[in-house]
């Protein structure tokens, strides 16, 4: 399943960089697209604003198939306080923009599965696919608006996985 998780993240990251190159984050001294995997970074005392944070949670396995299918739940969390130039008054618009961006980067609902332990990454035989996102209501915390979307990510286990 790790290959599917990695491929899912890299697919979203690549798509985000294409549709909004300005959404970036300075993390570990490097400017990168504004999306990250929470469990692959240093623990956050507070999640960063204006970026997408991938948090992996639920796990399901279907053994009654020719190939074992694994499903993992991914929660994509994002929050914003708006921009400084608008004094935060555009936070609703900023969140709407992030909603649209997330809906865009999740389509199409599949990507090639790659093994990122190899350099360069090697393509595997099957694909990673996911269902439509389920968005939660907006949570307002003073000047911060946050929301999350949940996606089930599926993949078939291949030889050696």
């Amino acid at each position: 399943m790790q290959n599917a998780k990695d491929s899912f993240y890299i697919a979203l990251r690549t798509r985000l960089a294409a549709i909004n190159p300005e959404r970036t984050i300075l993390l570990r001294g490097t400017v990168r697209p504004g999306i990250l995997v929470e469990d692959a970074e240093a623990p956050f005392s507070q999640l960063p604003n204006d970026v997408f944070v991938l948090r992996w949670s639920g796990l399901g396995v279907d053994l009654n198939l020719v190939s074992t299918m694994v499903a993992k739940q991914c929660e994509i969390i994002y929050q914003t306080c708006g921009s400084q130039s608008y004094g935060g008054l555009d936070r609703g618009r900023s969140l709407s923009k992030m909603d649209e961006e997330l809906a865009s980067i999740l389509q199409p609902f599949y990507t090639a599965k790659l093994d990122y332990t190899a350099t360069p990454p090697t393509a595997m035989l099957t694909k990673v696919f996911w269902d439509e996102p389920g968005f939660t209501p907006v949570v307002t915390q003073r000047d911060r608006l946050s929301r999350s979307a949940t996606v089930m990510v599926y993949s078939y286990q291949e030889q050696g996985e």
């Binding site: 993240y9 300075l26 570990r28 001294g29 490097t30 995997v37 005392s45 990122y116 350099t119």
Partner: protein, 144 residues
């Protein structure tokens, strides 16, 4: 008789803070800072161990905060760091500011125990920071 020594009066609070920190316990804090060569997919998915630099900062003082912290039961600590010690490491690592140093810090080690940074505050006098106060939380043991 006036003091004609070529000392910068703005530096006095720093010298005083350093002297106080040294006289209290004068311990050393080790900041584990990530390297900047992380521009690869592998490092973003937790596959490649990034390079680390261990920034030694002294004098420093640790103090335990009141036990109001409830989440998972870890204790909370305050680490008081000498601003001159922090500046020295900022210059060594060629960073823009102390905030950049703390942002790149994964863990803080004091007396063999690892801590995570919760927040950073600073004290200023004459427009110059003379000490940094880091709110820390005990980190869990990591696999070898």
């Amino acid at each position: 008789m006036s003091d004609t020594a070529p000392r910068n009066p703005v530096g006095a609070p720093r010298m005083l803070a350093d002297a106080l920190l040294r006289s209290m316990t004068g311990t050393t804090a080790l900041l584990r800072v990530t390297g900047t060569n992380t521009e690869t997919s592998q490092s973003e998915v937790g596959l490649m161990a990034t390079t680390f630099y261990e920034a030694v900062i002294s004098p420093a003082v640790m103090r335990k905060l009141r036990p109001t912290w409830q989440e998972n039961g870890e204790s909370k600590w305050e680490l008081i760091l000498s601003a001159s010690g922090v500046d020295q490491q900022v210059n060594t690592l060629d960073l823009e500011s102390a905030q950049a140093l703390f942002a790149m810090t994964l863990t803080v080690t004091v007396a063999g125990q690892d801590y995570l940074i919760e927040s950073v505050a600073s004290n200023e006098a004459f427009g110059k920071v003379y000490l940094y106060r880091l709110l820390l939380r005990e980190a869990h043991q990591q696999a070898m």
